[in-house]
Amino acid sequence: MNLSETLGRLKDYGAGIRPLDISLVMTFILLMVYAENVFYVRPATQVLAGLGLVFYPWIGRSPWLWLAITAVLAWGHGVFWFSIDNHKYLMNYWTLAVSICLFYRKPSAFLAVNGRLLIGLCFLFATVWKAVTIEFVNGSFFEYLLIGGDVRFEDFSILLTGISPEVLEQNRELLQSVKSNPALTETALEVPPRVSVIALLLTWWTLIVEGLIAVLFLWPNPGKTRIVRDLVLGAFIISTYPVASVIGFAWLLVSMGTAQITRRSSVMKLFYIALFIVLTFFSPSAQFMFGRLIDLITL
């Protein structure tokens, strides 16, 4: 059997797997790893998702299992609805959508619409919030992140702006002193010259790409250009979440993105599976190793 035959067989095999099944398996993995870390949510979610994964598709495609997962998440998230991250809301919407769709004999089309709209709406609101916030549009927000406002961006900032770890440390201490002393109403931070330009570039990249994802995913009939939305989403995920270190959110977007591709598109199935696997390398433990590597380079 030559290479083209092997590839052909793989393609046929891939075409037989439904995007819905890939998406549900990804979601089970996501739920097992990134369920809310409180005692009344994580163990129950992990048991339910584990059952679904091990006994897929017999139990894993049961709408009742998904309803149970939705109920546990809703209970856990409901107690701290005001302080949980937005992707925890999205996770709950997604499990609810899966539950409802699985009550149909042919759930794929419904789940595809839900996946597409949830991604589109999430990015629409994210774009609107950023566009109406002056602090974001004028570059202040990214400048703040790059000079020590968020520890997750520090390695990225050192690489991109050349800011020194000492300046970051100094700014972090100033920010801490402001927080612990409300009487200190303002203080100046040190900002190397390149930071402002890079902050503005990041601002506009984020606005454009998030707005584009919203439009592409909310557009109902993209025709032959539908591949573009998957590629743009993939570009956004790869350029954003490894830095922001919110792998749970990224996995959720990949799971929903997978649900909305066509069954025949083996390439896109592989694309989303590859994205899901690549993101694993940007988990916090991998980030730790990356940080040590930067330390070695900058020594």
Binding site: F110, K130, S140, Y144, G149, V178, T185, A188
Partner: protein, 195 residues
């Protein structure tokens, strides 16, 4: 056989019900952010990474007021999820109702303050509710310097303030703005009186 229009309605609900729920929650969060100063980072509106005003950057400053001075206090939180929840609500959604609900946790209690600076694992000028102070006092014998550092006090009022950060590029200035404050005058038993 089911009515076709009923089937169609059910199909539309399946396809669009959850996305509509997302829109309703996100719109309500927009309203809350405008009217109640909820941080855009939270509440299901997808406003994360749009402003430096994230909840962890907010300050909930709590004060005891005396006749001639005021001192900050820290409540004992530990693993008390109920109190942690009330505290988080107070600074993430700083309405009068949530701030009052949190401050009411400290009504009719005895307050203790340190009278000297920390040489014995007690922070300088620290005030705390009795439950917190008890844990420290119980570790020491009466008459020891550690024991004497904490003394019961009678404040005139308690006050809570919520502050948020803003950042201005160009002048590289981080600012703190007071979002709101709430204050209660205390009677002899430590009950709150309306002003």
């Amino acid at each position: 056989m089911q009515n076709p229009s009923h089937l169609l309605r059910r199909k539309y609900l399946t396809a669009f019900g959850v996305p509509i729920l997302l829109v309703l929650v996100a719109l309500s969060q927009f309203g809350r952010a405008a009217m109640q100063d909820i941080s855009p980072w939270k509440g299901g509106g997808f406003g994360m990474f749009s402003t430096v005003d994230r909840p962890s950057g907010r300050t909930l400053a709590l004060y005891l007021e005396f006749s001639n001075q005021e001192r900050q206090f820290e409540p004992l939180k530990g693993d008390d999820i109920r109190l942690l929840r009330k505290e988080a609500l107070a600074y993430i959604i700083p309405t009068d109702a949530y701030l009052e609900s949190f401050l009411r946790e400290f009504e009719e209690i005895t307050w203790y303050c340190t009278t000297d600076y920390d040489e014995h694992n007690l922070h300088r000028d620290r005030c705390m509710p009795e439950s917190y102070a008890r844990q420290i006092i119980d570790e020491f014998e009466p008459g020891t310097p550690e024991y004497d550092l904490l003394q019961p006090v009678k404040p005139k009022a308690v006050r809570a303030e919520v502050w948020k950060k803003t950042y201005e590029s160009g002048i590289s200035l981080i600012r703190q703005e007071k979002i709101t404050e709430i204050r209660f005058v205390l009677d002899e038993e430590g009950r709150y009186e309306s002003e």
